[in-house]
Subunit: 154 residues, 3 copies
């Protein structure tokens, strides 16, 4: 078992199966040593873990957990591409889209759920540039969507 | 005529003229073998093909067509940069921003209009990582905006 | 003093101190010669210069200034990474997220504040591909957020 997966397991997480793409796109695309993930939703066992807008029916704390689930799904997709998460040299960039109530302005706290999880699992290699934005709606009324750009070892 | 343009023609599409940039930016910027397009709107002959939010005054089916028009405009911009669309090695990443009614949650279906079109025209080279998000508003009240990252042959 | 910083000074701007990251992420991440900035808010001396949605409590003209402040913060972060802004070979990509009133559709004018500023300071090296979108809300009710991808000299 790879070190990264061991750390995931110790933190109480298991890499999920990769969701089948819903359309004419793929979960990850590689360009040289750079991997782009598709925007990941908090899908667990093929179903969204929750729906709704943060600040309305979804709490910040719950949304942080869903952001973590998005990351977990992204890592599963990356593993399917490169075989071993220990080959990740750096998490380069994270964008977190938060489905937001009209007056909800704590998107950064929600996306911290993704950022802190990456730091916990990857250490220095998990630090990244990041944007957090609040959007009107996400596919299937998901509360959060996370995409990543990752650098892998040559 | 290039193979890609032939396929476009057979599918009933013509590459449009490249819209003049509206400001101090350009339709595409190249970094090595990677080309970033600006966010493309469904402009036809210099005018938006439609305005309004999807789920309100714009139907999903129509919005899929507008997403396709965005891609077509992006391809025209890329052709202006590299001369021949056959030099595209891979469509790497697509982000689709869908101007959404407050309760509209089928952004993925709208952006399928872009993804499936790329698959139809480029085959394997057209598969890509993708994010679909619902936004509050887009420039000039456009219903959809699509940006692409594309890898070209060295 | 570098040429770019001289131009900034002549235009009346001073590079700010780099804001401490608010969480488990960093202001910039480098992948080879490419630097990704985190989404920058219009923070001045550690506080947001303004809050609110454009088209509601924030005017287009003011928002253009805030977009410029976002860019200035991004440049400060890049300087902290590479030491000298003259090493920037090209501003490759800019994404501007504009917190928008329900009927506000001039996001492109707001983000022109960022694009034109980059052109003014960097000349040809400042032209870039760009997306401008209107979002529901931004962290801490900021009116605008700008992220950049920048190419640096090898």
């Amino acid at each position: 078992m790879s070190t990264v997966e061991q750390r995931l397991e110790e933190a109480g997480y298991t890499l999920p199966a990769v969701s089948k793409p819903l359309a004419a796109y793929v979960p990850t695309m590689r360009d040289g040593d750079t991997i782009y993930t598709s925007g990941q939703l908090p899908v667990v066992d093929g179903e969204l873990a929750a729906t709704g807008k943060v600040g309305e029916t979804v709490s910040v704390e719950d949304a942080q957990g869903y952001a973590r689930t998005c990351v977990l799904n992204g890592l599963a997709a990356i593993k399917a591409e490169i075989g071993d998460l220990d080959k990740i040299a750096q998490i380069t960039k994270v964008v977190g889209f938060v489905s937001s109530a009209a007056d909800f302005d704590e998107q950064h706290l929600v996306v911290n759920g993704a950022s802190e999880f990456l730091g916990e699992i990857f250490g220095e290699k998990g630090t990244h540039a990041r944007s957090a934005v609040g959007v009107a709606m996400l596919p299937m009324n998901a509360p959060v969507e996370v995409e990543m750009i990752v650098k892998v070892e040559n």
